[in-house]
Symmetry: C2
Subunit: 284 residues, 2 copies
Amino acid sequence: MHINGQTRVFMILGDPVAQVLAPGLFNHLFAEHAVNAVLVPAQVAPRDVMAFARQALRAGNIDGLWLTIPHKTAILPLLDRVDRLGRVAEAVNAVRRNADGTLEGALFDGIGFIKSLDHFGVAMQRADALVVGVGGAGVAIAASLAERGVARLALFDLDGSRCEAIGARLRAAWPGVDVVVAESSAAAGFDLLVNASPLGLQAGDPLPFDPKQVTAGATVVDILMKDQPTALLRACAARGVKAFPGHEMMLQQAPDYLAFFGLHDVARAVAEDSSALRRMLTPR
Amino acid sequence: MHINGQTRVFMILGDPVAQVLAPGLFNHLFAEHAVNAVLVPAQVAPRDVMAFARQALRAGNIDGLWLTIPHKTAILPLLDRVDRLGRVAEAVNAVRRNADGTLEGALFDGIGFIKSLDHFGVAMQRADALVVGVGGAGVAIAASLAERGVARLALFDLDGSRCEAIGARLRAAWPGVDVVVAESSAAAGFDLLVNASPLGLQAGDPLPFDPKQVTAGATVVDILMKDQPTALLRACAARGVKAFPGHEMMLQQAPDYLAFFGLHDVARAVAEDSSALRRMLTPR
């Protein structure tokens, strides 16, 4: 990777930002495909994110921003256009400056999740799905599952009123899907169960749901990236429940980011051969 | 060079910015010395530079900015502190955020020039010097020559009133130096002659002064970095006049930037062994 005056610059805004994996991944891809671009981290406080993003995107060679926690929603008022998933989830992962100067945002978390299930061969259409935790990632996943055409989508979150509000947004956007707000994370009867809650980040956390209750043949996904395999994945493995980790979701959305930023050749190459990304992301 | 979430970020602001050499140089040094930092270009329009710099320097991991044309002077109102050379020249090359949150600027162009003459073994104290062109670099060089203790400092610029104003600032700061505003760039009688004007950037430009008039034993420096050797350097060589190119000036100021940004170990290492930088900067 050789950065010079002609390098196109992308930034990933987070607070904190030290934990982000995207710079390592995308800079590797830029170098591998001889794209003169770089993705650098920027630790931006919530009160600064609008002004920072506005100014950064006025720079001629800063072509776009990645947004991570806690900025995925806060950035929305700055944007001229937002894709449908981003509008429903009220969150974006990325913002670009279009040729006409307008700012456009898109949400890829849910797309990455769907593609990861496709990769694992898990059927979603007409499925009964449970999403535990409707923070940023959970809403993105729920919206993408609705778009993919699950039959029933149950949401559970300790914040019941947030869960109700998100349920209402999903119902409005996809009236054909039976969106329900669950009163508990009781696992029985679902074909697909997703942990999108923080349960598992802290030692001693309870499991987000009980693997013993999971219906035979169902699929579990734990999107937590820390300390693989997670307690939930280990508990599922111990009971013979099919369960997948979250890193594939990140890997699968890489081509979408690249295409969104106009790097179509690299996007295509990565979609066709993700082995380099897989080596970088797969837990050892 | 491996950029991750912990990488400290520096930006060089210019308009245009595609021509800047600093990212190539400093990123090479960061990689060589295992400093997890990166310098990326940002093409920022003059009307945006204050707001861009203010926001960028509020990011927790953006530790400083390099300023290049046309931003070296425009940034001054943002700064809490400016070093003496920067105040006289009304320009800075770099801005850092101090631990207490204050913004501090410094000017290195002139320091690099002085160090380059030291490197070439050219005496400056009590010299008669002519600086042609009092744009940003010319003023920086003139101020540093005054600080170094030249006896007489003649300034020439096509913009006579700017030249007078700068002469007055230099006289006020260094009353012991005989600062004169020359009516022409007549070269006779000087020990040291510096082209800091743009003459030589365009094909067909006249020479900034006539090498035939240069006093025997005098030294000429042409700070233009484009198309080496410049027409002036070639004309001097043809007449046996000792003449040096400008790249050494850039090389010599690298340790000052590094030290200014707190990277003292790398600054020391580069000051002791500049061979890597020299290979990158020396015209082939």
